[in-house]
Symmetry: C2
Subunit: 287 residues, 2 copies
């Protein structure tokens, strides 16, 4: 199949590489061209604009940074929608706003194309190992057509409803993680202040009703002072702010998520926005 | 061995029954005598006061409601410390304050006895199935003597340090759970408002970086509107308030735990203090 891939970054590089390795023809674009060098050497065709990608490919994937970047690659001067996208499927995998996903779906429909919002979780390792969780919104029909390609990139790829529902599911996921991250961090802060052996506490708490992925994966890294990003603080803030904005639109209050967002924004203000999310502990243990 | 057991409640009944079934002689006391009827029929010896329990037993366990109840059974008129406790081991398994555990350890020492603080997690099911997690503070020597009895009641029983460290570990555990409970609750609130299929979302979120025990165990109960207590709201509030008071003593701020406590107190004010902790969602979905 002729696939397009826009956004050859920490995640996109691996995702595109898997699609290429699975025997697809790949047309790629990235804002910073040099990052696509390796994938082009592996056989992908470089395109100078998102428009060119969309002209060449039948299914166009994108995974970029922020909602405004998504808007740019879709609606910008040389964006996807300046191409003839009739009968094509446009799949944005960026974590972005549900409303933008709905808007893209509407434009796509007007142009005779289909679209899916399909944000992922699992980070760079998930992308590398093709074990991403892919949360999909859109039509059943488009989902089924793209499924074989999702399968190449992820271990889980579930359709959660119409346009925007993939993004909403990702927001739900981030709200959950806001709880495990703040809980895990304050747990360690308390345990250290109380003079406990942190390895033992992590094992005990992780063996019962407090068990969670953040504790199992990030707490040991914190003890090793390893703050390299599995997931960037700045991206987590982006996600949480989208979640809170959506919650406000839906007239629901999420106080714990708000508090988590406030703490992460404080962390970013202190200069840690390019650390991994486990760096939250630096609000207490920072120097 | 001659064991004493004070507090024959939802947890204590099973714990005492396991100790009895393991071949120990058991002396029991409960504030409400009728609750001890069954264990006495099974062969335990009823005592009219904590003092009488302490006179008869070599190792005295207790698991009661609040720190003031612990104070009462230890320092009250017919309390444990009015007995001759020389060479005995006093094991309080109530979730209580680290400072009270330290005070008991000091009094015990003065009287030639030893003490352990050994709060548990795992709830009534853990007590029934002898799969409790027991978090122990006290001397290595006393811990080793009591270990065979802990083994009868729990699947994990770790010494976390000197007097009070068992309680501190339990507080760390509750701080972690405050995060998973608020995160899980707000996640469901968001997902429902966004019109998502909650079963699918729970499966997707629980299959990745958001995975946690509360989500796996409580979220499905919430969907069935099952708010029966695995763990009471009122007891969780007690624990969180102890944790926050200790944090304040140690001059550390735990904003997310504070927010969780505020939400649970609001829930109790609305009349749900005897529900299980999963009832937090009633702040949004309540009628």
């Amino acid at each position: 199949m002729k696939i397009g891939f826009i956004g050859i970054g920490v995640m996109g590089h691996w995702m595109a590489a898997h699609l290429l390795a699975a025997g697809n023809e790949a047309y790629v674009y990235n804002r910073t061209k040099v990052k696509a060098k390796q994938i082009v050497e592996q056989g992908a065709v470089w395109c100078d604009t998102p428009q060119a990608v969309a002209e060449n490919a039948d299914v166009v994937f994108s995974i970029v940074g922020y909602p405004q970047d998504v808007k740019e690659i879709y609606y910008g001067e040389n964006g996807i929608f300046t191409a003839d996208v009739k009968d094509k499927i446009l799949v944005d995998m960026t974590t972005s706003t549900p409303s933008l996903a709905e808007q893209i779906a509407q434009t796509a429909k007007q142009k005779g194309a289909e679209s899916l919002d399909a944000p992922v979780s699992g980070g760079d390792l998930g992308a590398k190992n093709a074990t991403l969780t892919i949360m999909v919104g859109g039509s059943q029909e488009a989902y089924e057509k793209v499924m074989p390609l999702f399968k190449v990139m992820g271990k889980s790829y579930v359709l959660h409803g119409g346009p925007g529902k993939g993004q909403h599911t990702k927001m739900a996921n981030q709200i959950m993680i806001a709880g495990t991250m703040t809980g895990m961090t304050e747990m360690l802060v308390y345990a250290k202040a109380a003079g406990l052996n942190l390895e033992k506490v992590i094992e005990t708490v992780g063996g019962g009703g407090g068990a969670n992925w953040s504790l199992a994966n990030y707490a040991p890294r914190i003890l090793k002072e390893d703050y390299t990003p599995g997931f960037f603080v700045k991206h987590f803030i982006k996600d949480l702010k989208i979640a809170l904005a959506e919650a406000e639109k839906m007239a629901i209050d999420l106080p714990a998520t708000k508090e988590a967002t406030r703490l992460y924004e404080l962390l970013a203000q202190k200069g840690y926005e390019n650390d991994g999310t486990q760096a939250l502990i630096k609000l207490w243990w920072g120097n």
